[in-house]
C-alpha cells in the first residue's frame, strides 16, 4: 500500500491521534437529536426570538448621546464577527476582565450615556444574543495575554474547589464524571460555547452567569452575585478551557 495511499494513511493516523488527544465535546454533542434539531433550525430555534429583538435594539438610539450601537459599530454582521468568541476580555482602564454583558453596558454608559441594562433583562439578553450570534461557527479565542493570568488562575481555583452543602466542585462533575448520568440527565463537560442560550428548564433565554448560579444552587452553595469578580473569573476560565471549540450561540439545552 504505497504510492498515493501511503501518505494518506499516514495523515489519517496523525489526525486520529490528534482527535484522541482532544476529547472535548460541547453541550450540543450531549444533547438529544430533538434538541439539536431545535437548535439547528433558525426558524424554530426559540433563541432567535431574542436575536431578532437584539437586531432591532442595535439600531435604536439611546441615552443622552442619542446614539445607537449601529452609529459606532455599523453592520453587526461585520463589526461583531468574532467578538463574543474572545470575551471575557481585559479592560486596561479597569485593570480587570469584563464579560460580554459588562462590555455592552460599558458602551451604554460611556458612549451612549444611557442607563446600563439590568442583568438578565430582556434587552440585555437580546443584544448579547444578537452579538453572540455573529460568532456562530467561530472558534473560541480568549486572549492569552499575561494580564489575564491571575484572573484565570482564580477562575480555575473556583472551578476546582468544593462548595455548598453537597460539598462538590465543578470539576467533579464536569471533568471527572462527564458522560455519566445525574438523576437521569447526561452530565456534559460544561463548555460555554452556546451562550446566551435557550434553556428548556427556564423556557427562556439566559446568560452563562445564570446557568452557573443554577449549578451553585444545585450543590446548595450561595451563588455569586451577577457581575461579581468571581463570576467573571469563572467565565474566563471556562472560555479558556474551551479554547478553539466553535461557538454555537444561541444554543438550545435541556
Amino acid at each position: 500500500m504505497n504510492g498515493l495511499l501511503g501518505p494518506l494513511l499516514a495523515l489519517a493516523g496523525a489526525a486520529a491521534l490528534a482527535a484522541a488527544a482532544d476529547d472535548r465535546r460541547s453541550g450540543y454533542d450531549f444533547a438529544s437529536p430533538e434538541i439539536r434539531a431545535m437548535q439547528d433550525d433558525d426558524t424554530a430555534n426559540p433563541g432567535n426570538l431574542w436575536v431578532l429583538q437584539g437586531e432591532t435594539l442595535w439600531d435604536k438610539r439611546a441615552g443622552a448621546a442619542d446614539r445607537s450601537c449601529a452609529d459606532c459599530h455599523g453592520d453587526a454582521r461585520v463589526s461583531m464577527k468574532g467578538v463574543a468568541a474572545r470575551y471575557p476580555a481585559f479592560d486596561a482602564a479597569l485593570a480587570r476582565p469584563l464579560d460580554l454583558e459588562q462590555r455592552i453596558n460599558q458602551c451604554r454608559t460611556e458612549h451612549q450615556r444611557a442607563e446600563p441594562l439590568a442583568w438578565e433583562s430582556e434587552d440585555l439578553l437580546a443584544v448579547t444574543a444578537f452579538v453572540a450570534r455573529q460568532s456562530r461557527g467561530l472558534p473560541i479565542t480568549v486572549s492569552s495575554s499575561p494580564e489575564l493570568r491571575p484572573f484565570l488562575a482564580s477562575g480555575r481555583e473556583l472551578f476546582e474547589q468544593r462548595e455548598g452543602q453537597l460539598n462538590l466542585a465543578c470539576s467533579q462533575c464536569h471533568d471527572d464524571n462527564w458522560g455519566k448520568r445525574l438523576a437521569g440527565n447526561l452530565i456534559p463537560q460544561g463548555h460555554p460555547t452556546g451562550y446566551p442560550l435557550y434553556r428548556l428548564e427556564w423556557q427562556g433565554l439566559g446568560s452563562l452567569q445564570r446557568r452557573l448560579r443554577n449549578c451553585m444552587t444545585g450543590v446548595r452553595a450561595e451563588p455569586f452575585d451577577y457581575g461579581a469578580p468571581q463570576a467573571v473569573a469563572l467565565e474566563l476560565y471556562l472560555m479558556e478551557r474551551a479554547r478553539g471549540m466553535p461557538m454555537d450561540a444561541p444554543a438550545v439545552r435541556p
Binding site: 488527544a21 482532544d22 476529547d23 472535548r24 444533547a31 438529544s32 437529536p33 430533538e34 434538541i35 434539531a37 431545535m38 484565570l152 480555575r156 476546582e160 468544593r162 453537597l166 460539598n167 462538590l168 466542585a169 470539576s171 467533579q172 462533575c173 471533568d175 471527572d176 464524571n177 462527564w178 458522560g179 455519566k180 448520568r181 445525574l182 438523576a183 437521569g184 440527565n185 447526561l186 452530565i187 463537560q189 428548556l200 428548564e201 427556564w202 423556557q203 448560579r213 443554577n214 449549578c215 444552587t217 444545585g218 479558556e240 478551557r241 479554547r243 478553539g244 435541556p254
Partner: protein, 200 residues
C-alpha cells in the same frame, strides 16, 4: 491551558460522584440514584411546568412535610379518568379505530418543559375524504387537553407539529375526526426526566 479530560470511569449511568481526583474530606462520598426514571426523586412541587402530580409522590410530600405543602396550586392532579372523560366528551358513543394516527415524539426526554411532538394522520385530504380535526390529550398533567387543531382539504397534509409540556412520564393520545364522522386514534408513551441543577 487546556484541560485534559479523563475517560469516564465506571459503568455508564452509575452516577457516582465524589471519588477519584479530588481529595476526600470525610463523609462527602455521595452515590446519587441511577434513575428508575418513571419515578424520579420526590422533589418539592416544581415552580415550572404543570406541577408534580403523581398520587404516590403527593402522599410522600404531604406526610413528610406537613402544612407547608397544603397550599398546592388549584387541582394540580389529572388522572387517567380525566383523560378518558375528555375523550368520551369528544367521541360520545362512537367507536375509536386505533389506526392512521401517528405520533412522533422522543421516547425519553431530558426536560418535560418543551417536548417536540408531531401528530400526522393518513388521509388523501380531498373534499370527500379528509381530516376535520385532531385532538391531543395527555394522561398526567393537571388537565387532560393539549390542543385541538382544525384542518380541512386546504391543508394538503393532515399534521401539526408543536412543543408540549409533560409533567411526568405518561401517555399522549391523539384522536382524529374524519370527514365521514368517524374517529381514529394513536398514542405514544414518553419517559420524562427532570433537569439537574435548577433555580430552586
Amino acid at each position: 491551558m487546556s484541560r485534559q479530560f479523563s475517560a469516564p470511569r465506571g459503568g455508564e449511568g452509575r452516577g457516582e460522584v465524589g471519588g477519584g481526583g479530588v481529595s476526600n474530606r470525610g463523609a462527602t462520598h455521595l452515590t446519587l440514584p441511577v434513575t428508575d426514571v418513571t419515578d424520579p426523586l420526590p422533589l418539592l412541587p416544581q415552580a415550572d411546568g404543570e406541577g408534580s402530580s403523581s398520587p404516590t409522590r403527593r402522599r410522600v410530600l404531604l406526610t413528610a412535610a406537613g402544612a407547608g405543602l397544603a397550599s398546592l396550586a388549584p387541582a394540580a392532579e389529572a388522572t387517567e379518568a380525566a383523560m378518558t372523560e375528555a375523550i368520551r366528551q369528544l367521541i360520545g358513543e362512537a367507536p375509536l379505530e386505533p389506526r392512521k394516527v401517528k405520533l412522533e415524539l422522543p421516547s425519553i426526554v431530558e426536560n418535560g418543559n418543551t417536548v417536540p411532538l408531531t401528530v400526522s394522520v393518513e388521509s388523501p385530504m380531498t373534499q370527500a375524504d379528509h381530516v376535520e380535526s385532531i385532538h391531543i390529550f395527555n394522561q398526567k398533567n393537571p388537565q387532560p387537553f393539549v390542543a385541538a387543531v382544525h384542518l380541512g382539504p386546504r391543508a394538503g397534509k393532515a399534521y401539526v407539529a408543536t412543543r408540549i409540556r409533560l409533567a411526568d412520564s405518561q401517555r399522549i393520545v391523539a384522536i382524529a375526526r374524519l370527514s365521514d364522522g368517524s374517529f381514529c386514534s394513536g398514542s405514544a408513551d414518553v419517559i420524562v426526566t427532570l433537569a439537574a441543577c435548577t433555580e430552586q
